[in-house]
Symmetry: C2
Subunit: 486 residues, 2 copies
């Protein structure tokens, strides 16, 4: 491990976070919140700790894949530790572990909350809470790459470690410009959603909050009833559409921008993703209609599409309490939690492309068993599937499931013998590791994560990071080999 | 598909089943049960249908892997269809789908029951019900291979399709002798358990029933309270030990028989299996003791080891209602359901060897990510892991999970919106696809599967066959290519 370069990058991240915190700091003054001191102290600490590490540029430039992974993991942990201070210092979340949980839930764009009454929070804190979604959505190191003047070729390891999906590539030859294009699209789409929400008569503040939550596919709202509190079909539809837009691979938007619309709509992942959304929402609509859950068909359609988009995009906003739906509807949502969004989007989950590759791998194995001597070629996005990617995806799924199951076991210790503990364990971890937010039962969209003790919240927070950073960076932290000095 | 040879084998199986049914038929006469007619009719039907197909030996000998898979699947379906007739014709299970469920549950050694009062069944039916476990445990085609005088080299496809585990090999050069050795060990161990149970003052009939249930790792008992009804520490210990013995790869017994004891105990799978049993049972014992679930430590130890052995061996016997245990204990059992027994045993689940390979695959992928240019060699049982096996296991796990999740969705339609539907869905399918028997909650060891409708029981029965025959034979039934005449 090249400690010098890692601490240099961490120093930069600390200063960046101080800069980002200055926005809620200004808001806290403007709104005369009781959080001025909390934000001020946090900014000072970050500036004081970060500055010494960035004064001198490191000479030793060696930076391998493993340093990339670990640096990204450490950056996210540091961001979360300091980002939680405003909640803790201001006393609005008096338990430090809870404030850390809330912050990690924010940065990882999970949206699971330990707050029982969100509306009691001052505006500056609500802003910071949702702003973490926006920062975490596209990635903080991608942001650093976008803004630093000179970039090293080896910085690609940082980019790879933070960007989701089985394959991460550059859009243009220079990584810096790739990062700028991605952030450009991200900012433009967020602004567009704010405008649409304002047209729907949402207040400016609320529009920012909900656009941040949608853009990062996070799901924190400043209302206890989430998007449902506006009770506006227009707002529901706007948020549904934007949740889906932010779940699509941003590379496709770049293709559209450079006029290659044809290639963008040809994307296999996009088609499967839209197919999944359409089929799931239709199935849920039919079942809700058959069970007469809502008064009108329009309402049924609106809620089912909203909820499917919210879960598959891994946002976690809600317009209704889906834990009162028939079990099959709930189970479809549970399965969608694991499917997740497209690779290269701000969404979580396993990613649609991995699901496609998993199905193709199964199909290939069956074909191979029928005719052991013929070579079966699997294609994805028109190209033959490389066996390295194929293995990586199968192994990713396996490691993911192992961590998932172990986490369920770890958090279940305080549960009694009531079978609902089964539901809290499996859906709670699913909601966190896939970066969704709400689970089922008491931890559903109208509930919160207060039932978990400190140990459990830390396990769940670890899972959120595992989900957002796609396992490897977090696991490598436990590998002593990585920490060896070079 | 070579229809001639397939129907020839199916004819043989029909006659074999008629012969096997003659034992409960004789019992029904001896006990003057009301099932004499039911058994008699079934035997006649089987003899009448089977004879025409076996009179002439097929000339065309072509028999490929795909024929092997499909023939095995069809054999099991046929066995179950006719095997269910005594239950149905005698009127003791008046719903045909329920009697089919019960029979498939028997042959696949699952042990899930739709009977609310087992003790009301006449003895001849109880015998047949448990005898199906014993027949299904080692495999009916393995039996056919063992008894037919002349065997073809191509018959290996039948053997492979029916025997569990990622790798199936012959013990000796001739397949017929391999099958005979396996059945020899099977019969000897079953007889040994009967003797041990008789020493524990279990009646002869009950000893047969419980030895069949243990040997096949099935779990049907003739008592409503299962093994718990005897309330005898000695019997609990005997059954615990034999459940574990029948979960071990039978190849190891062969190694011991030919004096190669050293190689047998060196088995990596065996060591991991025993490690899993020991760690799980110890963890459960500690938690049960901390929660003072049982009066004495001895009782705690006995119940936890029994329950762990019962679940990991996929037997499903019970001495206590584990659904009243603390949630973590229940969840450990739930995870063990998927682990299952060793390959080449009579147990179900994913099999310990597959679990080991899955973990090694994950480990390899992580190592590969840290050092992308170095080749990581994974060893299993002392030999480097072949990439074909590695891929097959990862794909197997993936297809298994896909079928698991789809089945949960399919059976959940009649559930309400209560979260316990979540538990019934996930544990019910887990109990069936892993060939365990009891799930959690109302379908736990003291409950039964009566809550499911006909459609759901058929989905669960399909899952049992998927689990017992390890997916492929059942999936190939849906492939039109396989049915093409050759």
């Amino acid at each position: 491990m090249n400690y010098r370069i890692t601490s240099y990058i961490l120093g930069q991240i600390a200063l960046l976070e101080a800069a980002l915190l200055s926005i809620p700091f200004v808001l806290s003054i403007a709104y005369s919140d009781d959080t001025v001191l909390a934000f001020g102290i946090t900014i000072l600490i970050l500036a004081a700790l970060g500055t010494p590490f960035v004064i001198k540029k490191p000479k030793k430039r060696e930076f391998r894949a493993r340093e990339g992974f670990v640096t990204v993991a450490l950056s996210w942990i540091m961001l979360s530790l300091f980002g939680s201070l405003p909640f803790f210092i201001s006393g609005h979340i008096p338990n430090f572990f809870d404030s850390l949980f809330e912050t990690i839930s924010g940065f990882t764009t999970t949206g699971a909350s330990i707050l029982t009454n969100v509306e009691a929070l001052p505006k500056s804190l609500l802003f910071w809470r949702s702003f973490t979604h926006w920062i975490g959505g596209m990635g903080v190191l991608v942001f650093v790459i976008a803004i630093i003047p000179k970039t090293d070729a080896k910085i690609i390891h940082l980019f790879r470690a933070e960007s989701p999906g089985p394959q991460v590539g550059k859009l243009v030859s220079k990584l810096k410009f790739t990062a700028r294009i991605l952030y450009g699209i991200y900012i433009a789409m967020t602004a567009l959603e704010i405008i649409f929400l304002l047209i729907g008569r949402m207040s400016l503040f609320d529009s920012f909050i909900h656009a941040f939550g949608t853009a990062g596919t996070g799901g924190f709202s400043n209302k206890n009833l989430s998007v449902g509190s506006y009770n506006s079909p227009y707002i529901d539809i706007v948020v549904t559409v934007f949740m889906l837009l932010f779940s699509i691979n941003f590379n496709l938007y770049y293709l559209i921008l450079i006029g290659n619309f044809k290639q963008a709509v040809k994307s296999e992942e996009l088609r499967v993703f839209l197919g999944i959304v359409f089929v799931s929402a239709t199935a849920i609509t039919i079942m809700l209609a058959l069970n007469s859950v809502y008064a009108t068909f329009g309402e049924t359609l609106r809620h089912s599409f909203f909820q499917v988009a919210s879960i598959v995009s891994t946002t976690g906003f809600s317009t209704t309490d889906f834990t009162t739906w028939p079990m099959l509807c709930q189970l479809i949502l549970f399965v969608l939690m694991f499917v997740g969004a497209c690779a290269g989007s701000t969404g979580g989950g396993l990613k649609v492309s991995r699901i496609i590759i998993l199905f193709k791998a199964g199909f290939r194995e069956i074909k191979h068993s029928i005719s052991p001597r013929t070579i079966v070629n699997v294609k994805f996005e028109g190209k033959p599937l490389d066996s390295a990617i194929y293995n990586a995806v199968l192994s990713y799924f396996t490691i993911f499931m192992i961590i998932y199951v172990l986490s369920v076991l770890l958090i279940s210790l305080p549960f009694g013998n009531n079978t609902s503990g089964f539901v809290y364990g499996f859906t709670g971890v699913a909601a966190c590791i896939n970066n969704i937010g709400p689970g089922f039962g008491e931890i559903g969209p109208m509930g919160n994560f207060t039932m978990f003790n400190n140990f459990s919240t830390m396990v769940l927070a670890f899972d959120m990071l595992v989900g957002r950073l796609e396992i490897l960076p977090m696991l490598l932290l436990f590998n002593p080999k990585v920490w060896r000095k070079i």
